[in-house]
Amino acid sequence: MKINRRTFLKGVGGALSLPLLESFGAIGSPTPTRFLVVGNPLGMHPDNFFPKTFGQDFIFPETLKSLEWLRRRMTVISHTDHGMVSGHGRELSFLNGILPETAAAYPEKNISIDNLIARRTGSRVRFPAINAALERGIRMSWNSNGVEIKPFTDPQKLFDHLFLNLSASERKTRRELIERNGSILDTVSDQLYSLRRNGTTADRVRLEQYETSVRELEGTFADRENWMDRNKPTYDISEHFKDYEVTVENRYNAIFDMIGYAFETDLTRVATIAFPNQLSYTDVDGVTRGYHACTHNGKKPEIIKELVNIESFQIAQLSRCLQKLDAIQEPNTEGTLLDHTVVLFGSGMGYGGTHSNRNLPIMVAGGGFKHRGHVNGRGTDGNNMPLCNLFVTIQQRFGIEKDIFNTSQGSFDLAHG
């Protein structure tokens, strides 16, 4: 049967013939937990993001309004950050707490939490992780080599990557290409050996980076061969592009829908979506200026309004996606897809208007956690909670039984089950 987006939507909340699960051994195996990260590089206007009171019964601030349906099922944390000094360029530590220039001091460099989890969950699924944004990324995803992961920035390419099946002859060509590329890597490896033998210690660091890259590429070739003959789930996003104008909104709708469906069909278990600075948000209601320019609003109310519109738009996109996830009942277990998806929204910058990288806007939802409403991360000592504490809690949720992650000093109290 052809499952297009229309039937997918129709099925929401009602009976839907279940899409075929992608992963090996899907039947009878425990329900997977997924990880969705949504981030921006400029933080949030604090007055409109943080609720005025702590606990469960806060009034939803302007930016978070679209999430009101998640009351008691989400946690907003204030006074948590990575202790970074002010300025742009440090927001890229959002998911790891470490800047690239100091990454060398850590055994896994500045690996970000999404990649750590993808490494854990990735071997069971076709795509260990999916990273998406529009036009360009915000540099939030980093591998254990200290290199940033480039996101898909074109919904069409993401679609091809996730859902497009190759014809028999394309598969043959692709298989041959993988083989040829494999031969080239073999040849290069032979050469690398003699290079390393001659190199000094200082040389070796970069040569090893090169070598690891070659090895990892060889590894993905093997994975790709395994998956090549298995059909991907069918999906249709054309509806988002039928309108006369292709807007930022319908492009993001398409991205979120694709990722939701990829979770549902177990194509992947980790996804990141970014709202870049350079994107033009002028499709969004009332926005006429650049996103970055709006953060430097000089407190002019009309420009703050534009900024809050952009930020509310980001949250609304997320909310729309979570509503869809929440409408899908997990087979063979309790709860909805949302209950089995850890959702993290946030930024590595506190608020662009002050260039502050303290007091990051952080929101967690789903994942089967017992959510706590608005939590003050500031300890009795007056210090903000290291955001990596939350990442310790999240990694443990994925079965990574370690009680440290990068710059953590403990964990964040968020029970699940």
Binding site: G83, M84, V85, S86, G87, H88, P100, N143, N145, G146, V147, E148, I149, K150, E176, R180, N181, S183, I184, L185, D186, T187, V188, D190, Q191, S194, L195, N198, G199, T200, A202, D203, R206, L207, Q209, Y210, T212, S213, V214, R215, E216, L217, G219, T220, T288, R289, G290, H292, A293, H296, N297, G298, K299, K300, Y351, G353, T354, S356, N357, R358
Partner: protein, 856 residues
């Protein structure tokens, strides 16, 4: 630990005693009050100096030397220090640093780094002996490079991942496929393209603009955003040489006012031919048919398109071209009232959509008479080849390649790619690859795999790979520094014969590289990196307040001004101090509007212009600097100060501590930036650094966010709200007053605030305005700092890592001074320096004895 205990801890005595000085006393007497372990002003304690410089603390010594030498420390207003004491202190710090560095540092060493994309595409081009990587955009899939302070050559920032490697393989295959192919020679075809077959990209032939500007024998390009393609030759079918002829003319150059269209009558009306991303521009003559003739190697899949490049025609409304049609209305109303009346009578009432307002753009599309190219027809002929297989293929493979000759074929390619001689037997893995692929892919296909493998190799992708001989390594570094590509055989030979051993020889080659234009990549890339021109659109001036900047894309003009100035200094081998001290720059009519100067020809060409008022000239007056350091609505003296310090004077202030609360700028309040920032001088934690930083920036306060001159702050003045809004505000104020809170700000009542661009440096020097500030930048101290900073930036660009040998840089500054700071001589001195050559630093005999004296 307070001051009293410091004496014992501070082991500087040891050095002082060994060389017979007592200056640590001076240091302690005048500096320990603010710089002790309890009071870390400027985040520095005297104990950071340890018992003398070491690898770990030499940074503190260098900073101390710089601050004391400039007279900024100890600050004149706060510390009572005699000139003799100050001079003694400078000598002490200088000698200590010199001794440390001359004691024999390990040879500077530059680790391997990945080629950036710019270097990669140039290198592929030169390895394969072609004009560029190909018009089919084979490298479009590569990841962008991460910059470090503007530099794209920075090793630590140029990461490599499995994703990179895979993209390289894909790109390289595409490039090689555009050079080498099999099969029979394709036949020449001829495509005639009458105007009717010229279509606009992305439209389906129902666009009212386009229909309106078609005649039976021609088509006009009125909208600069649109591109034309040939309906019967949309993409290149087969790789090969193509002859392209296009007939066109320029029309209606000067019908409309320049001010209305934003295009200058004197600017060329240009036709741009896009061959993929290879661009060819032609200036069309007015009203006479001109035939453009191109002869180009085009790769299969290349799109051939035409456009009208102009920075004008975006002046009205929000800058969207369609609103410009209103100019046609205004023109007819004034110059052809009969036609104007007829349109209003006959056409406006028939409009199906949009406004019935007669001046609405939608009614005047048919009457547009702005400057534009008119195209009559075109012809494409190809592919043709001077021989078969094509020459470029034979250059690589020879006329009859065999698998058995794989080593012979690949050797010269690998030597160009790997920047060295290839040893016997070294190509065995590649030969094996070719042999194993030949049964499947055929001889040519297998050899192509070999060529791809040559360039996926770390010896190609990594610069400064360890296997290079010292001579080859030097030649490669030299070539990538100035030419951003792999060294040519000539350069490698000269280096191999030891002919680049001294300054004179290096100077000679550097001079020739610039004269011949080979060093153009450096001339374009270096100023962009050094001046961080990549930041110019990060925070563009607000389009509502600064419409010209947005509508005429002035960020492009400003970047071009900076690069043009740099080229001027190089072409005339001027002193590098010109960047800081010149009273001229290169501006066009648009920049003249921002800079508010007269007498500039009304066109877009950048020309030499001397500023008589002492406010501008050189980098300090450039729009590029002034706008990339500003916010969209306001300016920040701190951002400008930091830019001057870090990029021009080589001073690196500490970033503010993480827990500092930074006040958000509020343009509505009736306060000047100086008043807002008063906190910096009131709060002692901020003040200790900001008293040093801020004087570098306040002088620029007369320059607004786009770099224009202003006599007062006007941004805080807002439009008066309507009556209802005023009523609401009054009620809110009453409510606030009842709560004992201050009323809402009323920005429409604000008066323009005066600008205070006066400040005093901590060494006592002060200025009243930008003119005096610019004079202070010429003091020997600042000039020295600038030269130091410039050679540091050159080394950062050349080595891909910031140099850290203070004393060797100091020697470079001396050598530059000996050559009157002339830029080419300075660049040559940098290349001749041990920091670039990566040679062990000389240990002068005179200091050798001292160096042996055990410290402590």
């Amino acid at each position: 630990m307070g001051k009293a205990e410091l004496t014992g801890k501070l082991g500087l005595w040891a050095i002082a005693a060994s060389i017979g000085w007592a200056e640590p006393n001076v240091l302690e007497q005048h500096c320990s009050e603010c710089h002790n372990d309890d009071d870390l002003k400027g985040e520095f304690s005297l104990t950071d100096l340890g018992t003398g410089p070491t690898e770990d603390n030499v940074f503190f010594w260098e900073d101390s030397f710089d601050f004391v030498a400039s007279g900024e420390m100890p600050p004149v207003d706060e510390v009572d220090i005699t000139e003799t004491e100050r001079a003694a202190l400078v000598n002490f710090l200088e000698d200590t640093l010199r001794l440390f560095h001359e004691r024999g540092q390990p040879a500077p060493y530059v680790p391997p780094r990945r080629l950036n994309n710019r270097e990669l595409t140039n290198s592929i081009r030169d390895v394969l002996l072609i004009e560029d990587v190909g018009t089919h955009q084979p490298t479009a899939n590569l990841l962008g490079d991460t910059l470090f302070a503007g530099f794209d050559t920075h090793g630590d920032s140029l990461g490599i991942s499995e994703f990179h490697i895979e993209q390289y393989i894909e790109s390289l295959r595409k490039v090689v496929n555009g050079v080498i192919f099999e099969g029979v020679q394709p036949a020449v075809q001829r495509f005639r393209v009458p105007a009717q077959r010229m279509e606009f990209v992305g439209s389906r032939g129902n666009d009212r603009f386009e229909d309106a500007h078609r005649k039976f024998d021609s088509v006009d390009i009125i909208d600069m955003r649109k591109r034309i393609y040939f309906d019967n030759f949309e993409t290149v079918p087969t790789s090969g040489n193509y002859r392209i002829k296009i007939r066109g003319t320029a029309i209606d150059r000067a019908i409309y006012d320049e001010a209305a269209t934003g295009t200058y009558h004197a600017d060329p009306i240009r036709l741009r031919v896009h061959l993929g991303d290879r661009i060819r521009d032609f200036d069309l003559p007015d009203n006479e048919v001109f035939e453009i003739a191109l002869d180009e190697w085009l790769v299969a899949g290349t799109r051939v398109q035409l456009s009208y490049p102009t920075d004008g025609l975006r002046i009205l409304a929000n800058g969207n071209f369609k609103f410009q049609f209103r100019i046609a209305h205004d023109y007819l109303e004034k110059h052809n009232p009969e036609l104007h009346a007829r349109v209003i009578r006959d056409e406006v009432p028939l409009a199906k959509f949009r406004s019935t307002a007669p001046s609405h753009w939608v009614h005047w599309v048919n009457y547009w008479q702005g400057p534009r190219p008119r195209l009559f027809d075109a012809e494409v002929e190809g592919p043709y080849y001077s021989e078969w297989p094509a020459t470029r293929q034979q250059q690589l493979l020879g006329s009859e390649p065999q698998v058995g000759n794989a080593e012979e074929i690949l050797r010269p390619i690998a030597e160009r790619a790997w920047r060295r001689e290839v040893k016997r037997g070294e190509l065995a893995p590649l030969v094996k690859l070719v042999e194993s692929q030949a049964p499947k892919l055929g001889t040519i296909g297998a050899l192509k795999e070999g060529i791809v493998a040559v360039m996926v190799s770390p010896s190609f992708l990594l610069l400064n790979a360890p296997e290079l001989s010292p001579a080859d390594r030097f030649a490669a570094k030299f070539s990538y520094f100035l030419q951003s590509t792999t060294p040519d055989a000539g350069l490698r030979q000269v280096a191999a014969k030891d002919l680049l051993k001294d300054y004179a020889a290096v100077r000679d080659v550097v001079g020739r590289k610039f004269e011949s234009g080979h060093a153009t990549p450096f001339m374009e890339a270096f100023p962009k990196a050094w001046l961080q021109l990549d930041r110019i659109n990060f925070m563009a001036p607000d389009p509502d307040h600064f419409p010209l900047f947005d509508r005429k894309r002035l960020s492009g003009d400003m970047s071009a001004e900076a690069v043009r100035f740099f080229r001027h200094v190089v072409e005339n081998n001027l002193p590098i101090t010109e960047f800081l001290e010149a009273d001229y720059s290169f501006i066009n009519a648009d920049l003249a509007k921002i800079y508010d100067v007269d007498g500039v020809p009304q066109d877009s060409v950048l020309r030499h212009y001397t500023f008589a008022d002492g406010r501008r000239g050189g980098i300090l007056g450039m729009g590029a600097f002034l706008t990339l350091t500003a916010d969209s609505l306001g300016t920040s003296p701190i951002h400008r100060a930091i830019y001057v310090m870090e990029n021009l004077l080589g001073i690196h202030p500490n970033p503010p501590p993480a827990d500092v609360v930074i006040t958000e700028p509020d343009v509505r309040q009736a306060k000047t930036i100086k008043e807002i920032l008063a906190a910096h001088t009131a709060d002692e934690t901020c003040a200790s650094c900001h008293r040093t930083i801020d004087p570098y920036g306040y002088a620029f306060e007369n320059f607004d966010p786009q770099g224009g001159w202003r006599e007062a702050y006007t941004m805080q003045i807002a439009k008066r709200p309507g009556r209802e809004e005023l009523q609401r505000i009054a009620e809110e104020d009453k409510r606030l007053a009842d709560l004992g809170l201050p009323p809402l700000p009323k920005p429409w009542l604000n008066k323009p605030l005066p600008i205070d661009a006066t400040e005093k440096f901590r060494n006592g020097e002060s200025y009243n305005n930008i003119v005096e500030y610019r004079q202070l930048m010429k003091t020997p101290t600042n000039r020295h700092r600038f030269v130091r900073c410039f050679v540091t930036k050159l080394l950062t660009y050349a080595n891909g890592v910031e140099p850290d040998n203070y004393w060797e840089i100091e020697k470079l500054v001396q050598r530059s001074a000996e050559q009157e700071y002339r830029i080419i001589d300075t660049i040559a001195a940098v290349i001749d320096s041990p920091l670039f050559r990566e040679e062990r630093l000389d240990l002068p005999e005179a200091t050798a004895v001292l160096a042996q004296t055990p410290v402590q």
